[in-house]
Protein backbone atom coordinates (compact mmCIF):
# COMPACT_ATOMS: atom_id res chain seq x y z
CA UNK A 1 0.00 0.00 0.00
CA UNK A 2 1.32 3.43 -0.93
CA UNK A 3 2.12 5.97 1.76
CA UNK A 4 -0.66 8.14 0.44
CA UNK A 5 -3.20 5.32 0.77
CA UNK A 6 -1.99 4.46 4.26
CA UNK A 7 -2.48 8.05 5.31
CA UNK A 8 -5.93 8.23 3.73
CA UNK A 9 -6.84 5.04 5.63
CA UNK A 10 -5.63 6.47 8.93
CA UNK A 11 -7.78 9.57 8.45
CA UNK A 12 -10.68 7.50 7.13
CA UNK A 13 -10.57 4.89 9.89
CA UNK A 14 -10.62 7.60 12.55
CA UNK A 15 -13.83 8.91 11.00
CA UNK A 16 -15.38 5.49 10.31
CA UNK A 17 -14.86 4.06 13.79
CA UNK A 18 -16.06 7.24 15.48
CA UNK A 19 -19.10 7.27 13.20
CA UNK A 20 -20.01 3.71 14.13
CA UNK A 21 -19.59 4.46 17.84
CA UNK A 22 -21.76 7.57 17.63
CA UNK A 23 -24.51 5.91 15.63
CA UNK A 24 -25.14 3.62 18.62
CA UNK A 25 -26.76 6.63 20.31
CA UNK A 26 -29.62 6.59 17.82
CA UNK A 27 -32.76 6.18 19.98
CA UNK A 28 -30.66 6.11 23.18
CA UNK A 29 -29.70 9.76 23.73
CA UNK A 30 -31.32 11.72 26.59
CA UNK A 31 -33.80 13.36 24.22
CA UNK A 32 -35.00 12.81 20.66
CA UNK A 33 -33.30 16.06 19.67
CA UNK A 34 -29.95 14.78 20.92
CA UNK A 35 -30.42 11.53 19.00
CA UNK A 36 -30.56 13.64 15.88
CA UNK A 37 -27.55 15.75 16.82
CA UNK A 38 -25.29 12.77 17.51
CA UNK A 39 -26.40 10.80 14.48
CA UNK A 40 -25.95 13.88 12.28
CA UNK A 41 -22.39 14.04 13.52
CA UNK A 42 -22.02 10.32 12.87
CA UNK A 43 -23.24 10.84 9.31
CA UNK A 44 -20.75 13.64 8.71
CA UNK A 45 -17.97 11.35 9.89
CA UNK A 46 -19.25 8.54 7.69
CA UNK A 47 -19.20 10.82 4.67
CA UNK A 48 -15.58 11.72 5.33
CA UNK A 49 -14.71 8.06 5.86
CA UNK A 50 -16.36 6.95 2.62
CA UNK A 51 -14.49 9.49 0.51
CA UNK A 52 -11.17 8.62 2.12
CA UNK A 53 -11.62 4.83 2.04
CA UNK A 54 -12.82 4.90 -1.56
CA UNK A 55 -9.66 6.70 -2.54
CA UNK A 56 -7.56 3.89 -1.07
CA UNK A 57 -9.50 0.91 -2.45
CA UNK A 58 -12.99 -0.60 -2.42
CA UNK A 59 -14.80 1.10 0.45
CA UNK A 60 -16.95 -1.94 1.30
CA UNK A 61 -14.00 -4.30 1.39
CA UNK A 62 -12.04 -1.88 3.54
CA UNK A 63 -14.89 -1.21 5.94
CA UNK A 64 -16.42 -4.67 6.20
CA UNK A 65 -13.74 -7.22 5.42
CA UNK A 66 -10.71 -6.05 7.37
CA UNK A 67 -9.99 -7.54 10.77
CA UNK A 68 -9.36 -5.31 13.77
CA UNK A 69 -5.58 -5.67 13.33
CA UNK A 70 -5.89 -4.00 9.94
CA UNK A 71 -7.70 -0.93 11.20
CA UNK A 72 -5.44 2.10 11.56
CA UNK A 73 -7.59 4.39 13.69
CA UNK A 74 -6.48 6.11 16.88
CA UNK A 75 -7.39 4.36 20.11
CA UNK A 76 -9.41 7.30 21.39
CA UNK A 77 -12.14 7.04 18.73
CA UNK A 78 -12.80 3.37 19.45
CA UNK A 79 -13.23 3.85 23.20
CA UNK A 80 -16.69 2.70 24.33
CA UNK A 81 -19.49 5.25 24.49
CA UNK A 82 -19.85 4.85 28.25
CA UNK A 83 -22.33 7.28 29.72
CA UNK A 84 -23.34 10.44 27.89
CA UNK A 85 -20.52 12.40 29.53
CA UNK A 86 -17.94 9.92 28.22
CA UNK A 87 -19.23 10.31 24.68
CA UNK A 88 -19.14 14.10 25.02
CA UNK A 89 -15.60 14.01 26.44
CA UNK A 90 -14.46 11.81 23.55
CA UNK A 91 -16.12 14.24 21.14
CA UNK A 92 -14.40 17.21 22.74
CA UNK A 93 -10.91 15.71 22.90
CA UNK A 94 -11.02 14.28 19.39
CA UNK A 95 -12.99 16.92 17.47
CA UNK A 96 -10.67 19.73 18.59
CA UNK A 97 -7.79 17.66 17.23
CA UNK A 98 -9.61 16.54 14.09
CA UNK A 99 -10.62 20.10 13.24
CA UNK A 100 -7.04 21.35 13.54
CA UNK A 101 -5.83 18.43 11.46
CA UNK A 102 -8.32 19.06 8.67
CA UNK A 103 -7.51 22.78 8.74
CA UNK A 104 -3.84 21.91 8.26
CA UNK A 105 -4.71 19.55 5.39
CA UNK A 106 -6.76 22.06 3.38
CA UNK A 107 -4.77 22.54 0.21
CA UNK A 108 -3.03 19.17 0.54
CA UNK A 109 -1.66 18.22 -2.90
CA UNK A 110 -3.74 15.02 -2.95
CA UNK A 111 -7.15 15.91 -4.39
CA UNK A 112 -9.14 13.63 -2.10
CA UNK A 113 -7.31 14.40 1.13
CA UNK A 114 -7.31 18.13 0.41
CA UNK A 115 -10.92 17.99 -0.79
CA UNK A 116 -12.25 16.06 2.20
CA UNK A 117 -10.36 18.40 4.54
CA UNK A 118 -11.87 21.47 2.88
CA UNK A 119 -15.40 20.13 3.23
CA UNK A 120 -14.93 18.60 6.67
CA UNK A 121 -13.62 21.77 8.31
CA UNK A 122 -17.13 23.23 8.47
CA UNK A 123 -18.66 19.96 9.64
CA UNK A 124 -16.16 19.33 12.41
CA UNK A 125 -16.31 22.95 13.57
CA UNK A 126 -19.94 22.19 14.39
CA UNK A 127 -19.02 18.90 16.09
CA UNK A 128 -16.56 20.75 18.28
CA UNK A 129 -19.10 23.43 19.06
CA UNK A 130 -21.63 20.77 20.06
CA UNK A 131 -19.08 19.09 22.35
CA UNK A 132 -17.97 22.38 23.91
CA UNK A 133 -21.52 23.40 24.77
CA UNK A 134 -22.27 20.05 26.38
CA UNK A 135 -18.97 20.09 28.27
CA UNK A 136 -19.88 23.48 29.74
CA UNK A 137 -23.38 22.34 30.59
CA UNK A 138 -22.32 19.11 32.26
CA UNK A 139 -19.15 20.40 33.90
CA UNK A 140 -20.83 23.50 35.26
CA UNK A 141 -24.17 21.78 35.82
CA UNK A 142 -25.19 19.70 38.79
CA UNK A 143 -22.87 17.96 41.24
CA UNK A 144 -23.59 14.66 39.56
CA UNK A 145 -23.05 15.92 36.00
CA UNK A 146 -19.79 17.59 37.09
CA UNK A 147 -18.56 14.38 38.69
CA UNK A 148 -19.38 12.32 35.60
CA UNK A 149 -17.86 14.82 33.17
CA UNK A 150 -14.63 15.03 35.17
CA UNK A 151 -14.46 11.22 35.38
CA UNK A 152 -14.99 11.00 31.61
CA UNK A 153 -12.21 13.46 30.83
CA UNK A 154 -9.86 11.73 33.29
CA UNK A 155 -10.66 8.33 31.79
CA UNK A 156 -9.99 9.37 28.19
CA UNK A 157 -7.01 11.62 28.83
CA UNK A 158 -4.35 8.88 28.52
CA UNK A 159 -5.47 8.26 24.91
CA UNK A 160 -4.70 11.83 23.90
CA UNK A 161 -0.96 11.08 24.12
CA UNK A 162 -1.14 8.75 21.11
CA UNK A 163 -3.31 11.25 19.25
CA UNK A 164 -0.85 14.11 19.71
CA UNK A 165 2.42 12.18 19.56
CA UNK A 166 5.17 13.11 17.08
CA UNK A 167 4.76 10.93 13.97
CA UNK A 168 7.55 11.11 11.36
CA UNK A 169 5.45 9.30 8.75
CA UNK A 170 2.50 11.67 9.07
CA UNK A 171 4.83 14.65 9.16
CA UNK A 172 6.06 13.56 5.73
CA UNK A 173 2.73 12.76 4.04
CA UNK A 174 0.42 15.18 5.82
CA UNK A 175 0.68 16.99 9.13
CA UNK A 176 2.62 15.97 12.23
CA UNK A 177 0.07 15.63 15.08
CA UNK A 178 2.67 17.00 17.49
CA UNK A 179 2.47 20.32 15.65
CA UNK A 180 -1.19 20.58 16.67
CA UNK A 181 -0.58 19.90 20.35
CA UNK A 182 -0.04 23.44 21.59
CA UNK A 183 -3.19 24.72 19.96
CA UNK A 184 -5.14 21.68 21.16
CA UNK A 185 -3.96 22.06 24.75
CA UNK A 186 -4.88 25.72 24.79
CA UNK A 187 -8.39 25.15 23.43
CA UNK A 188 -9.20 22.05 25.47
CA UNK A 189 -7.65 23.51 28.62
CA UNK A 190 -9.64 26.70 28.19
CA UNK A 191 -12.87 24.80 27.65
CA UNK A 192 -12.33 22.57 30.68
CA UNK A 193 -11.54 25.61 32.82
CA UNK A 194 -14.71 27.36 31.62
CA UNK A 195 -16.62 24.22 32.54
CA UNK A 196 -15.10 24.27 36.06
CA UNK A 197 -13.29 21.01 35.23
CA UNK A 198 -9.68 20.15 35.97
CA UNK A 199 -7.24 19.40 33.16
CA UNK A 200 -5.65 16.05 34.10
CA UNK A 201 -1.92 15.84 34.75
CA UNK A 202 -0.10 13.71 32.16
CA UNK A 203 0.28 10.23 33.63
CA UNK A 204 2.68 7.37 32.96
CA UNK A 205 0.11 5.14 31.28
CA UNK A 206 0.09 6.17 27.63
CA UNK A 207 -1.59 3.51 25.51
CA UNK A 208 -0.63 3.57 21.83
CA UNK A 209 -0.51 1.30 18.81
CA UNK A 210 -3.74 2.14 16.96
CA UNK A 211 -1.81 3.24 13.88
CA UNK A 212 -0.10 -0.16 13.84
CA UNK A 213 -3.37 -2.08 14.21
CA UNK A 214 -2.97 -2.80 17.93
CA UNK A 215 -6.35 -1.96 19.35
CA UNK A 216 -8.28 -2.21 22.58
CA UNK A 217 -10.70 -5.07 23.07
CA UNK A 218 -13.78 -3.00 22.35
CA UNK A 219 -12.94 -2.46 18.69
CA UNK A 220 -13.28 -6.17 17.91
CA UNK A 221 -16.78 -6.26 19.39
CA UNK A 222 -17.75 -3.10 17.56
CA UNK A 223 -16.48 -4.42 14.22
CA UNK A 224 -18.25 -7.75 14.73
CA UNK A 225 -21.53 -5.89 14.86
CA UNK A 226 -20.64 -3.45 12.09
CA UNK A 227 -19.42 -6.14 9.70
CA UNK A 228 -21.77 -9.07 10.43
CA UNK A 229 -24.37 -8.17 7.83
CA UNK A 230 -21.90 -7.70 5.00
CA UNK A 231 -20.02 -10.85 5.93
CA UNK A 232 -23.23 -12.92 6.01
CA UNK A 233 -24.66 -11.35 2.84
CA UNK A 234 -21.78 -10.04 0.76
CA UNK A 235 -22.76 -7.08 -1.36
CA UNK A 236 -26.09 -6.63 0.41
CA UNK A 237 -27.79 -3.32 -0.39
CA UNK A 238 -30.90 -1.54 0.86
Amino acid sequence: MSDRDTYALRLGDDALVLSQRLSWWSSRAPELEEDLALTNIALDQLGQARALLSSAGDEDELAFLRGDREFLNLLIVEQPNGDFATTIARQLLFSVFQLRRYEALVGHPDDVIGGVAGKAVKEVAYHRDHAVKWTLRLGDGTEESHRRMQAAVDGLWPYTHEMLAHDPFEAQVGIDPAELREDWEEFVGGTLADATLTTPEPGDWRPAGGRQGLHSEGLGHMLAEMQSLHRAHPGATW
Binding site: E31, E33, A37, H130, R137, T142
Partner: protein, 94 residues
Protein backbone atom coordinates in the same frame (compact mmCIF):
# COMPACT_ATOMS: atom_id res chain seq x y z
CA UNK B 1 -35.54 20.83 39.26
CA UNK B 2 -37.95 20.14 36.45
CA UNK B 3 -37.19 16.91 34.71
CA UNK B 4 -38.42 17.73 31.22
CA UNK B 5 -36.71 20.21 28.98
CA UNK B 6 -38.92 23.14 28.00
CA UNK B 7 -40.59 23.35 24.62
CA UNK B 8 -39.33 25.82 22.01
CA UNK B 9 -40.98 27.01 18.81
CA UNK B 10 -38.74 27.23 15.77
CA UNK B 11 -38.90 29.79 12.97
CA UNK B 12 -36.75 29.45 9.88
CA UNK B 13 -36.10 31.96 7.13
CA UNK B 14 -35.65 30.03 3.93
CA UNK B 15 -33.73 32.72 2.09
CA UNK B 16 -33.04 36.42 2.09
CA UNK B 17 -36.05 38.56 1.40
CA UNK B 18 -38.54 36.16 2.96
CA UNK B 19 -39.77 36.37 6.51
CA UNK B 20 -39.25 33.69 9.15
CA UNK B 21 -41.84 30.92 9.01
CA UNK B 22 -42.90 28.69 11.86
CA UNK B 23 -41.63 25.19 11.10
CA UNK B 24 -42.24 23.24 14.29
CA UNK B 25 -41.12 22.81 17.86
CA UNK B 26 -38.49 20.97 19.88
CA UNK B 27 -37.20 20.38 23.40
CA UNK B 28 -34.00 21.96 24.71
CA UNK B 29 -32.56 22.87 28.08
CA UNK B 30 -31.32 26.33 27.07
CA UNK B 31 -31.26 28.70 24.13
CA UNK B 32 -27.93 27.62 22.57
CA UNK B 33 -29.14 24.02 22.69
CA UNK B 34 -32.44 25.06 21.15
CA UNK B 35 -30.60 26.73 18.26
CA UNK B 36 -28.34 23.71 17.81
CA UNK B 37 -31.25 21.29 17.87
CA UNK B 38 -33.19 23.46 15.45
CA UNK B 39 -30.26 23.38 13.08
CA UNK B 40 -30.18 19.58 13.30
CA UNK B 41 -33.92 19.02 13.08
CA UNK B 42 -35.13 21.65 10.65
CA UNK B 43 -32.26 22.70 8.37
CA UNK B 44 -30.77 19.33 7.46
CA UNK B 45 -31.65 19.82 3.81
CA UNK B 46 -30.52 23.41 3.37
CA UNK B 47 -33.91 24.80 4.30
CA UNK B 48 -32.67 27.98 5.85
CA UNK B 49 -30.31 30.91 6.23
CA UNK B 50 -31.55 32.06 9.64
CA UNK B 51 -33.23 30.49 12.66
CA UNK B 52 -35.23 31.98 15.52
CA UNK B 53 -36.14 29.97 18.57
CA UNK B 54 -38.68 31.17 21.14
CA UNK B 55 -39.75 29.47 24.33
CA UNK B 56 -43.26 28.20 23.69
CA UNK B 57 -44.25 29.48 27.14
CA UNK B 58 -43.29 33.04 26.12
CA UNK B 59 -45.68 33.15 23.19
CA UNK B 60 -48.91 34.98 23.89
CA UNK B 61 -51.64 33.48 21.73
CA UNK B 62 -55.20 34.46 21.01
CA UNK B 63 -57.66 32.12 22.62
CA UNK B 64 -59.83 29.81 20.53
CA UNK B 65 -62.81 30.66 22.77
CA UNK B 66 -62.53 34.32 21.79
CA UNK B 67 -62.42 33.54 18.11
CA UNK B 68 -65.82 35.07 17.36
CA UNK B 69 -65.15 38.32 19.16
CA UNK B 70 -61.71 38.56 17.65
CA UNK B 71 -62.25 37.75 14.03
CA UNK B 72 -65.91 37.71 13.03
CA UNK B 73 -66.54 41.48 13.12
CA UNK B 74 -64.27 41.82 10.10
CA UNK B 75 -66.46 39.59 8.01
CA UNK B 76 -69.12 42.11 6.98
CA UNK B 77 -66.85 45.12 6.50
CA UNK B 78 -66.26 44.67 2.83
CA UNK B 79 -65.08 48.26 2.47
CA UNK B 80 -61.85 47.17 4.14
CA UNK B 81 -60.99 45.13 1.10
CA UNK B 82 -59.60 46.89 -1.95
CA UNK B 83 -62.32 45.53 -4.22
CA UNK B 84 -63.90 48.75 -5.43
CA UNK B 85 -61.34 49.72 -8.02
CA UNK B 86 -61.79 49.11 -11.68
CA UNK B 87 -58.79 47.39 -13.06
CA UNK B 88 -57.55 49.07 -16.25
CA UNK B 89 -57.22 46.80 -19.20
CA UNK B 90 -53.78 45.39 -19.85
CA UNK B 91 -52.57 45.45 -16.25
CA UNK B 92 -50.97 42.11 -15.63
CA UNK B 93 -49.29 42.34 -12.28
CA UNK B 94 -51.80 43.61 -9.79
Amino acid sequence: MKKDWPLWEVFVRARRGLSHQHVGSLHAADSPMALGNARDLYTRRQEGVSIWVVRAADIVASSPQEKDAFFDPAADKIYRHPTFYEVPEGVEHL
